[in-house]
């Protein structure tokens, strides 16, 4: 399964409580749509670290990396490429 699909499924299952793929677009902002709040983002980080074997640095906890499926996917790809 692709990174994008894994992230999508996680968000759909844990925050939107649905399988309906149309409930979320890859560009939807988690903050603006109220999908994830300030405590919720910690759960997302735990998931990313566990699932993709990365460590999210303090300075990386910004919306540019974490605020949509698209942003997370490119962030993970960059992290993995950097090894």
């Amino acid at each position: 399964m692709s990174i994008e699909q894994k992230v999508r499924d996680y968000i759909l299952d844990n925050y939107l409580f649905t399988d309906d793929q149309s409930a979320l677009s890859n560009e939807d902002s988690f903050l603006n749509k109220g999908i994830i709040d300030s405590t919720g983002i910690m759960e997302v980080i735990f998931f990313l670290e566990e699932q993709f074997g990365i460590q999210v640095q303090d300075e990386e906890m910004v919306p540019e990396n974490l605020d949509s499926v698209k942003n997370i996917t490119s962030y993970i790809q960059r992290k993995q490429a950097a090894g």
């Binding site: 299952d13 844990n14 939107l16 409580f17 649905t18 903050l31 109220g34 994830i36 709040d37 300030s38 405590t39 919720g40 983002i41 910690m42 759960e43 640095q57 303090d58 300075e59 990386e60 906890m61 910004v62 919306p63």
Partner: protein, 649 residues
Amino acid sequence: MCGIAGIFNLSSAEPVREPLLQQMITRLNHRGPDGTGFYTDNHVGLAHARLSIIDLEGGKQPIHNEDKTIWVIFNGEIFNYIELREELERRGHRFYTHSDTEVIVHAYEEYGDDFAQQFNGQFAIALWDSNKKRLVLLRDRVGIAPLFYTQQNGRLLFASEVKAILPALAHSPTLNAQALDQLMTFWSPVSPETLFKNVYEVSPGFMLIVEHGEMTSRRYWDWQFPVSQDEYFSASEQQLADELHDLLISATQIRLRSDVPVGAYLSGGLDSSVLVSLIHHYGNVPLRTFSIRFEEGEFDEGNYQNELIQHLGADHSRVHCANQDIGNAFQKTIWHTESTVMRTAPVPMGILSGHVRSQNYKVVLTGEGADEVLGGYDLFKEAKIRQFWAKYPDSEFRPLLLKKLYPYLDLSKGRGMTYIKSFFGAGLDQADAAWFSHIPRWNTTAKCKEFFAESLKAQLSNDAIATIEKSLPRVISRWHPFNRAQYLEAKSLMGGYLLCSQGDRMLLSNSVEGRFPFLDHRVIEFANRVHPKLKMKVLNEKYLLKKAMGKYLPPSIVNRYKQPYRAPDIPAFFMDNKPLEYVSELLGESALRDSGYFDAAKVPRLLKKIEQGRAIGYKDNMALVGILSTQIWHNHFIKNFNKNFKSGG
């Protein structure tokens, strides 16, 4: 406190019969186990379940005036009854009991509808003026004693709890979807709504007058705040502290009036410590205190409780509350709250009142209200910081003040700051809105509504915030933002949750009466004219209270970090990572489809997320408790209506 119930014929000609009243009042046995009394005529029926506290022999209700033309049933206490009685006797009224109840009928004769202004107390009153064929339903200023009503087939039905009205209904009640929407935003319905469709409460500070087949609602008291600087007290800080000190002594002393022993709750926080110290120094009664301990350190305040007990030498007892106790008692708790709750916090309060009763006490003083009246909540601080931040929303420095308030927030550069800012920064562009202070809390709670079933959403025609806005007085926009936050807190969370679901209902579930010195209207009216800067000096909460009363307390209690009262939520409903049996059943697809309130596909996923240990946020926590309590409510009052209310009790 006691229980009252009654029927008034608005247009019905059918005489009110005692057996129906009997069925109604039986449901309130927990509020008044010491006896029942009835009055009926062709127009009205009154029923009373008594918890005898004052004039144990002679205080049986209903009580009447000299010529038996005015009758009253009453739940609560009129604490200034001694002074009122002296005044009324001077004016020629004759009394036949020594109870506080009897001053009500004579005060009505003497002052008419302004009689409410005379009372210092907590009360829900039904008064029948047989000459004028007039019924008056009256509730205390802040909503300590409950009173509900509905209309059916030309009759007005009323009672201290909705469960006493239900036996008189022809059909099962239904859910008030709008109220559920409000509960899942503000933690309480907007008064006078209740979770039962077409059942209303008499709002705090209101009287309902029923005459010539018509009902009129009249407000006799409300929280008022200054609209200009010169309306605040100009006296010095010390003078104001002295005045508050004296007022609190008086408010406590009159609340110790009783013909049975009076105890006090001691949480270990500032408010209950102040109260217990006042009883110790000025009460002239033995100091008997009660507290609750939690197995989880995060919730437990035992060290502070012990410190004060040693300091004052109280006769103290405690009850321990394990997570499992909360899960086991939750269904019974909802039977008493008759409402959705968003947290389990009421449950331990019910366990505590059970302990009080087991020690043969039936009256306790509690510190409730101090945070609202004297400015104690974190929410007030949070609003102050957000207000400061809203002036320069791009400031990097201003939101860092939030760390003073929530030390556990990591506000170091980068780490989650954007997310924290997005939470607390919600509504910065609405700094002038009356509800600015409450935007972050309401936003968080409202997330639970994502679980509403589509059919329930379709019933929602009014936006919750627009509804509460309509209920606010116009003058609120002229009040200081701090006072606006106080008003909202008093009207929503305090009146609609703390004093009922977590207060009256939990106390009376075990026949224990609570008394609230900080909610004495003299204290409120005084405090409302104290400038906010003296209530919260910079970010030091309840500053004036500390200045007034700190001398009686160990410094560690005066200076301690304020810990909000909370109880374990999610862990209470799971054993070895599996939900308790009833939780699993009520949150399963079948039960969800049966009630129809929540999305039967989404909720089981929430349960699964929790089981797998993936739920750590407030939102999931509140959603679980809110949905589960609503499902239990449905079971008790809708699904099992016939079994619970139509089988003769």
